[in-house]
Symmetry: C4
Subunit: 215 residues, 4 copies
């Protein structure tokens, strides 16, 4: 799991989702009340599987030589309250954060967005770091939406998945659709997709897409 | 042909036309009612010539260890109805998809666009995946335009060519002009190019440009 | 000179000024009525010093296995009429072409622009390829401006320099300032720089900047 | 210190903060009235630790085979007047310079901005190169703000830090938030963050974030 989580951080860099040391990926340790997460403030180039830290579901450091990410409490809250979630990603990716700074959800005007998010990407509350407020905001929003991504107001994005890789995919796709819809809106109003069609696309994509054995 | 199609997928990545596993290239097998296409949901880094799959013109898997791309039916429909087409590319490239989300054609205001597309890049209908609707929409539009690219509403781009490489070139150029015209429109109205001049540029480019022996 | 011109084409790619095979660099052969230019329609990855072609100042092929760039006539016209020019670059770089599509000069609102261009970047006429019209347009504009770059209407950018490298630098800086001024204008009006200050900056940069022995 | 400063210039390139030879990093030599800075007009690829030059706090060349950066006087002025500063960075990074061209500060509407900058990123005066005017403008603004970055009008960005690396981080983060806030403003008004919350975030980030032993 340390290796998986370490390798997935490289995807954040490769997909231009992070600047400097911002952003983090975590993954639940199968069968245990533990998760693996990035250490705080360490450059992406210096991340190794050994540098990853292990925390319990209260966010306490259990194993590792570094302090855990400053967003550890939010990840821990999600794992405590969403047992089906096995991966969490946090970024300040540019276009998604631009929507978040206005507190505006991203409307579902692309078939790729219907596929992955099943509708709009919703907005969570403004919350300060240092308590469970961010975690509570994430869980409250995601429990009532199909979207695996939430835009936290004036902050950035949190995504979830049944694996760390799925959460990273959601973070990549969130920035991709945030960018396309932003650009489309600059020169007019994107055409809406009827809810029935969104439902059809979402259902098909969740059940049919990809290599069956890999899901 | 597997090697050609596999290598061309790298061009999609290199030209920033695709995110995650989205997008696909196919190529008709010369002299046979078959085409080679990308497998569904496989990461670009993992694509090898052997991983490419072969389908018949109804889109049925003929050879290969993976399920074919979920867009296979649209590619198959194009090959069935446009015998002069030997390559098809599909992407959700950012700027082109931004025009597609508004259902707005890209006006021909650049000489490079007149060269390659012979006029505006047209828009096709909104169509759901899972039937021949997408293929029908592509063919209906491209049969009546010089453009090798069509923006499918709320979806993305399909391009065609007399070779897979030509279709990839059209996909690259489509995103390039979609971006430039988008930016130009942000600060005012681009100046139109008279139709006579567009016709002159298109005719010259199709017959004179490049190394004659390579065309 | 073949090696220099070949190597400078890589700078176009590295600085994201070109898509597919668009764009070209040329350099005058010292002491001869000849210049070296890119062959037409050859991919950037396949360019070698040997693939570069040599033309006379009428644009006729003198040496080389490939057809010269389709923009050769414009380069030749510049070399015939501007004896102080030893390098010419042509691109369709995105932001500069967006200004060109509106036929709008880029106002001088950045000190880096005053340094390199000595004022606004001017616009040349719409001109069709296939005669001397493009070359005439370039020369008419650049002879009456300090700027080494001209935006050709609905087309792209041509830059000149006392060496091919200087022309490439002008192409890189032209796109850089085109982008910054475009973005600045999106959210309001950039503040003008007084003409006296532009003159002061331009004069100082042309005489003092860099390592003296390298100029 | 030559090695540190040389290596940090690569971060400017990697983070897309500089075009051609623009931009520079300097670092104070510990315990001496000297600083190391980039030579003028040398390509980033050719920078080596040996090519870096050493200047005294008046900006005079003390050691090195090249002329110092044309911005040396501004760096020297900062080191003379801000003894707590050990690193200075100057760039024309795109989005930050777009705000600078309008003479408009970047409002603090992102938690990451509150963390790093403690409020808005302020604007300094228009100043010509060649005297102490740029240095005076930087110091006057930064002495009265928590922000380690200042947008110099119609010019670009200067950042400071208690180490050269901290100044580079500030330059990277400045461009990152300049871009996100720019994009957010394009489609409406970003929501403000209350001053109390900005203060709380800034205080926590400066004292808690990262690995304690590394600060």
């Amino acid at each position: 799991m340390r290796e998986t989580v370490c390798a997935l951080h490289r995807e954040l860099v490769r997909n231009n989702l992070v600047a400097w040391t911002a952003g983090n990926v975590s993954g639940r340790v199968p069968g245990e009340d533990l998760f693996v997460i990035k250490p705080s403030g360490v450059p992406y180039d210096d991340l190794t599987p050994e540098a990853m830290v292990v925390c319990d579901l209260e966010g306490n450091l259990v194993e590792g030589a570094f302090s855990p990410s400053s967003d550890t409490a939010a990840h821990a809250y999600v794992y405590r309250h969403m047992p089906e979630v096995n991966g969490v990603v946090h970024t300040h990716s540019t276009y998604a954060s631009a929507w978040a700074a206005r507190g505006e959800p991203i409307p579902c005007v692309l078939t790729a967005m219907a596929d992955e998010f099943g509708g709009e990407i919703p907005v969570g509350p403004f919350a300060l770091i240092g308590s469970d407020d961010i975690g509570k905001g994430i869980v409250a929003v995601l429990e009532s939406h199909r979207s695996p991504a939430v835009l936290m107001r004036n902050h950035g994005v949190f995504t979830i998945g049944d694996s760390p890789e799925a959460a990273v995919k959601a973070a990549v796709m969130c920035e991709d659709v945030a960018r396309t819809v932003h650009l489309s809106r600059q020169l007019g109003e994107p055409l809406p997709i009827p809810q029935d069609d969104i439902d059809h696309l979402y259902s098909r994509y969740q059940h049919v897409y990809g290599q069956r054995s890999q899901r």
